[in-house]
Symmetry: C2
Subunit: 430 residues, 2 copies
């Protein structure tokens, strides 16, 4: 490939600059004539590593093992197109109108059926529909966190959640996670330490299934232990479960929410099991919390999109969504197999887990290789990933990276891992 | 109509309870076992009068002059249905996928053309797409307001904005407004007072066209004066303009943004000129502010809905949206005429302005009639409105109410005003 001075290399360089931290944005802020207008919380905003990667991932020559984009082409697009046409012809005046702040009642009923698959018994009145589960994270944090309040979460933890926690000036503490998920004894120690120090812990943020980025699943016995510990310390659990139905082996484990419905705020999403383009997620919360959530959501967006909600409701009614999820499970299992076998073949010096579902494998690099330093060179070699540093509130993570196997085909995944192995090898000998 | 014990009267009573302030929510909060978990900002959340009215307005027997719902049935629904079907068949894998945090580039180009109609010259890079302009209000406030910071706004002001300002613990001060909009001398006095008191004024929030709820339009000379005053005091202007293209007489006045692009954050929306069901609005902001907005929006929702944005982009491309807006102008002019002539006929004791566009007329009640006290009795008489108190940060507004003429037919509007006049008459003789 030729590079010097070509338009393509220009694009690539801009992408590099973005991928390594958005230095341009920082420089602009310092010279911003509106500087004095910003609130204190705004000064802490910075470009996340995952954000910049949207630009990189969109270049067709790059194999992106970075973003968590579901494989939408696996959906029955023609059927969805036809059912949406009918929906607008028949109910256009509702489809295009303002809706209810809490979300469409019919869709809330359907969500009750979806979450029943993971053992949750709830009623439509306790479901609040949000603009993706990202908005749910934002609202839950807005409702609970005063600056300096503590959030406990896995080590590592979801980058999008950490960004929200940072924007509300939370004190985030990582709790040890192993192959069975968060370690209960470590959680209890963190709670005891916080209590001894007089710190206010507001919630434990946990992704129990096919963790992002860890790939691991919280075992059934640990779910019980963690719920008991949090109940004892009177600390809320925020259970974030976008991947629970995307397991490769057998039935999903029951959610934590049923173990203590009064002490768990549960977050779900259609983004991974159906389509993120509609931006529809949901929260199941105890009554008092639910009331506040609805008010906070109305303040933030008035109401979720009727168009999006009716489109999803119609999909759930007219398509065999359970069969679609089963077909996604097969598809993602093949891709998981592809990434694991490629790692075995091309990068045996690294270490990784074998995820039982979801989108991600968490890779420990050979000693001396820094995932953040390496990223620009990886993108030059036309492969993208997310450096481990994105998943920590502190400076850890340089020795890890996250590979997403959800979007590229198995062949592209193998090619991506081959390219990545070449880059790692060069780092080791540098 | 029979009432005693019928299911219908049960619905009605629940709606009454909601409309008069959501007492149930407050009581639940006091007994909420999660009370200690909430952040300080969450304790101030309360049900707005406009929120409760969604429930009332949905009962078919009530003439709702309350909500600002556009008349969606005026749109070419079949054409929209067909173009969406084609869009998903041809570009479904993008339609259903995650998008760009700042918003779809093509739609941002189209927005540049839309705002040019009001004299704004900008580039797609300076447009940030949001989940309705409500999210824009939320993000702008999040980025600027520390607790106690001052926001200056018209007297009265938009209820949805006041709710957001309250949730960020702003100190909102109302500035006199007359038939030509906000009074510049009053704005300058408020700024001087704040300066003298050492208070930090972060922005002036102004709805320049067909004010909600005031119905008035800021004159051209005042736009210049207000921009000059804010420039002198180094205070940002937040120009919120959902109704600018819905004027009944001639061309729209130019926006304030072109008078000082570095000092104005401009908010626009497709909710009134096309359809609120997609929840798509936008912000045009100076570079530094734009960068922070994108980051804050990504933290709040990751990205706006590709489905919604592509649907609107396709509508703008395939339908004659300018002709549609012209047809809406005719439709809403007829409804404005209906509400004004009905007020003249049925309620001559009241006072009102004659709005030159938009959705609202602001009515001053005869002495001694309290718009908030009267609301439950109005709903019993099957007419709904928003009490003036919703539009003040303080306790004013009991002597006013807002009537929306956008949604009901002219016949229903006349009937609604007739019912309202009966209620007012009874209040006066009580």
């Amino acid at each position: 490939m030729n590079t010097a001075g070509s338009p393509q290399s220009t694009t690539m360089n801009a992408a590099h600059a973005a991928a390594i931290g958005g230095a341009g944005v920082g420089a602009a802020a310092a010279a911003d004539p509106l500087f004095d207008t910003y609130a204190e919380r705004a000064h802490g905003l910075k470009a996340s590593e995952i954000r910049a990667l949207f630009a990189v991932a969109s270049m067709p020559e790059v194999v992106s093992l970075a973003g968590g984009m579901p494989f939408i082409s696996g959906l029955p697009l023609d059927q969805i197109a036809d059912s949406l046409q009918r929906l607008i012809r028949e109910q256009g005046a509702t489809f295009l109108q303002y809706g209810n702040g809490q979300g469409l009642p019919r869709l809330r009923e359907q969500i009750v059926d979806v979450v029943a698959l993971e053992g949750i018994e709830t009623r439509p009145e306790n479901v609040v529909i949000t603009t993706g589960s990202q908005q749910a994270l934002d609202l839950v944090t807005e409702l609970t966190i005063n600056p300096g309040d503590v959030i406990l979460t896995e080590s590592p933890s979801y980058v999008g959640a950490l960004g929200v926690f940072r924007s509300y000036q939370a004190d985030v503490r990582h709790v040890e996670m192993d192959a069975d998920g968060m370690v209960p004894a470590a959680l209890e120690a963190a709670l005891a330490d916080a209590q001894a120090a007089g710190d206010v812990v507001k919630f434990a943020y946990i992704v129990p299934n096919y963790h992002n980025p860890g790939g691991v699943t919280l075992s059934l016995s640990r779910r019980r232990e963690i719920v008991d510990i949090c109940r004892r310390y009177r600390v809320l659990i925020v259970e974030d479960n976008p991947y629970g139905l995307l397991g490769f082996d057998g039935e999903p484990l029951p959610a934590m929410q049923p173990l203590n419905p009064a002490g768990v705020v549960y977050l779900g999403s259609f983004s991974k099991t159906f389509a993120p383009g509609f931006r529809v997620g949901w929260v199941i919360a105890p009554d008092g919390f639910r009331d506040k959530l609805v008010l906070a959501s109305e303040s933030a967006i008035l109401c979720p999109s009727n168009a999006s909600q009716m489109a999803i409701s119609t999909y759930l009614e007219t398509c065999d969504w359970r069969a679609q999820i089963a077909s996604y499970r097969d598809l993602y299992r093949q891709r998981r197999d592809a990434v694991i076998s490629a790692l075995e073949e091309y990068l045996p010096e690294a270490e990784w887990n074998v995820p039982g579902g979801g989108f991600y494998v968490w890779v420990k690099l050979p000693p001396g290789v820094d995932s953040r330093d390496m990223l620009p060179r990886a993108v030059e070699s036309q492969v993208a990933y997310v450096p481990g540093t994105a998943f920590y509130y502190d400076d850890r993570g340089t020795d890890h990276l996250r590979l997403s196997y959800c979007y590229p085909t198995p062949e592209r995944i193998r090619e991506g891992v081959r390219r990545l192995a070449g880059v790692v090898r060069r780092e080791m000998s540098a």
